[in-house]
Each structure stands twice: as structure tokens, then as C-alpha cells.
Symmetry: C2
Subunit: 183 residues, 2 copies
């Protein structure tokens, strides 16, 4: 799946593995992420499959950049994936839920500590979506004529916001439940 993310970005612009990591961190990290090493290996694999081509750009006093460019085959491959509708719900993995599911034997205070810690983290994440991420997208929207793109990126940001609001609501409900056990 990462390969489609990389092709998706390379369809807008040519970039190095390093650039692509930066791009993902500021844009898709809400719903897709990858480590630097996986990006490099996946790019190499994509080049072997003819989906991208690369050339080395020498730099003074910095390591050389290997810049990747999408090919026509790569564009067709991306397009095919985008056209084909997703017929399933992707199964989630939520470690916090797994822990909670088996935590009945724990001290209620220990459970509450964990839930409150997560609440802080999710609150910070929510605020990030509402401020920093929001600003990045609205600045982009104002500076280009890619109106449709910007609106879809805003929709993706909005997902992060709704998700965090939902998570915090669930944490508050669950914290209240466990607090009730102490009495």
C-alpha cells in the first residue's frame, strides 16, 4: 500500500526519499505513515518495476540527492488503484483497547492513570489538527489553483479531528465508568 502513497506524491512532483518522508509527515501522517528505511526500499522496488525512474543530483557539502520521477506505467498503476473502489472495512488495531479488554484484574487507579494519560495525548493531537494542520492546508489552498485537491486534503484533516473528538469522548465515558468502581 505504501507504494501507492509514494506514487500519489510523485504524481504531483519529483522528490527524493527524504522529501517523501517529510511530505508524509506533514500531510498523510493522520491516516498513513512509513519509516524512512521502508520508503527507500519501496522506491528501489518501484524503480525495478518501472513505475518510477531516478537520477542523482549532486550537492556541495550535503550528500547527493536521488530524485525519483513517476513514469507513465507508474501513473497508470496509480490510476488503476484509485479507480477501483475499496470493498471492505480495514480492520483496526488499537493497543489501548486490547489492554483495557484484559485489565479487569488491575487496580482501578492503574486503569485510570492509563486512560488519563491517553486523554492528554489525544487532546494534544486534536489541537494539532485544529490549528497547525488546518493552517497548512488553508495556506496551500490560497496559494494554488488546486481547489479540489485542497478540499480533499481538508476532508482528510477533518477525519483526524472527528476521530480525536470521538476518542476523547470515549475516554471520558470510560474514565467515568472506572471512577464509579471506587465508591
Amino acid at each position: 500500500m505504501l507504494k501507492y502513497a509514494l506514487l500519489g506524491f510523485l504524481n504531483y512532483l519529483s522528490a527524493s526519499g527524504y522529501d517523501l518522508k517529510q511530505l508524509m509527515d506533514v500531510s498523510t501522517s493522520n491516516f498513513w505513515h512509513a519509516k524512512q528505511s521502508q520508503i527507500y526500499t519501496t522506491l528501489k522496488k518501484l524503480e525495478g518495476e518501472g513505475m518510477v525512474v531516478s537520477h542523482v543530483e549532486p550537492q556541495e557539502s550535503r550528500p547527493n540527492r536521488r530524485v525519483y520521477q513517476i513514469t507513465e506505467a507508474g501513473q497508470a498503476h496509480l490510476r488503476e488503484w484509485l479507480d477501483q473502489p475499496l470493498m471492505v472495512i480495514e480492520p483496526r488495531k488499537e493497543t489501548l483497547l486490547l489492554k483495557l479488554f484484559f485489565s479487569a484484574q488491575l487496580d482501578p487507579q492503574a486503569i485510570l492513570t492509563q486512560l488519563r494519560l491517553q486523554r492528554n495525548l489525544h487532546q494534544a493531537d486534536l489541537e494539532k489538527y485544529q490549528t497547525a494542520t488546518r493552517d497548512v492546508i488553508s495556506q496551500f489552498a490560497a496559494s494554488t489553483d488546486m481547489a479540489d485537491d485542497a478540499q480533499l486534503w481538508e476532508a482528510a484533516r477533518r477525519f483526524g479531528e472527528l476521530y480525536e473528538e470521538m476518542f476523547i469522548r470515549w475516554l471520558d465515558e470510560t474514565i467515568a465508568l472506572v471512577e464509579g468502581w471506587e465508591a
Copy 2:
């Protein structure tokens, strides 16, 4: 992480790999899942580490069952994991969002088809949490004295419900957005 899920179940009862797969499918599938083959290999690995022991139960006219039992070391290992709070937010992967992010060049009708298809799937999932899953848990709660366990399982179910409500709300917002492009 799967190993903790398996230890978590085996802490309640002894079970075969097959049993554990059934248990996960009806209880944790909302936030954790695994394939049969991975469960078998992980159980074997756990036995090698002394976390579980197994014995073969012969059956007539069915293949023998290999039943696993948690050891004291396994209980300690599980306990250690449960005690230690989760300090990060687990990064999500949502294929639908990734596709949408790169879909601006698509025909709006194609985007709408995909979003509406997903809406149907999420609606069905939501109803499952609100009826079938709900019933399983309330029956369990009524038939045992594990009140705390049942309440945490209900909290996990509730997460699934809230998640699907949120997802449907986001889909409705996004469908409305793309519908607006056609005019």
C-alpha cells in the same frame, strides 16, 4: 502484540489455537484481529519461551486438539504489559483516506460511488455493534459474576459503536462536499 492477546485469553481459560481464533472473532475483532496461521505460529513461539504449555487432546472423528494453558511466567509477562501505561498514540492506517487524498483528478461520480459503498459497509458494522455484539456482552454479564470484565468489554464495544458513528458522519460530510462539485 498478538502474544499479549493470546495470553490475555489464556489467562481466563485454556484453549486451542482454533478456539482462540473463534474467541477473537467474536470479541476483540473490533480492535484486534489475527489470521489462524499467525495464531498457531505465535502459540508455538510462546511455548518455546515458557509462557504457555500445551497437551494434545485426542478426539474421535475430528483432528486432535492441542490445548494451551498459561504458565506462571506467562501470567507475569501479561501482568507486566498490562501494568505499563501506553505512552503513545498508535498511528492509524486508513486506506480509504489515502485513496481520497490522491483522488482529485478522478471523476466526482467515481469518488461518490466509493464513498457511498463505504457508507453502506460502515452502517452495517454499526448495526452489528448495536445489536449482535451488545447482546453477546449483556448475556455474558448476566450469566457470570465477572462484573468488571463485562463492563470493560462493553466499553470496548462502545468504542466500535462510536467509531462507526463518527466514520458515517465524516462520510456524509465528505459525500455532501463532493456532491457540491457537480453543480
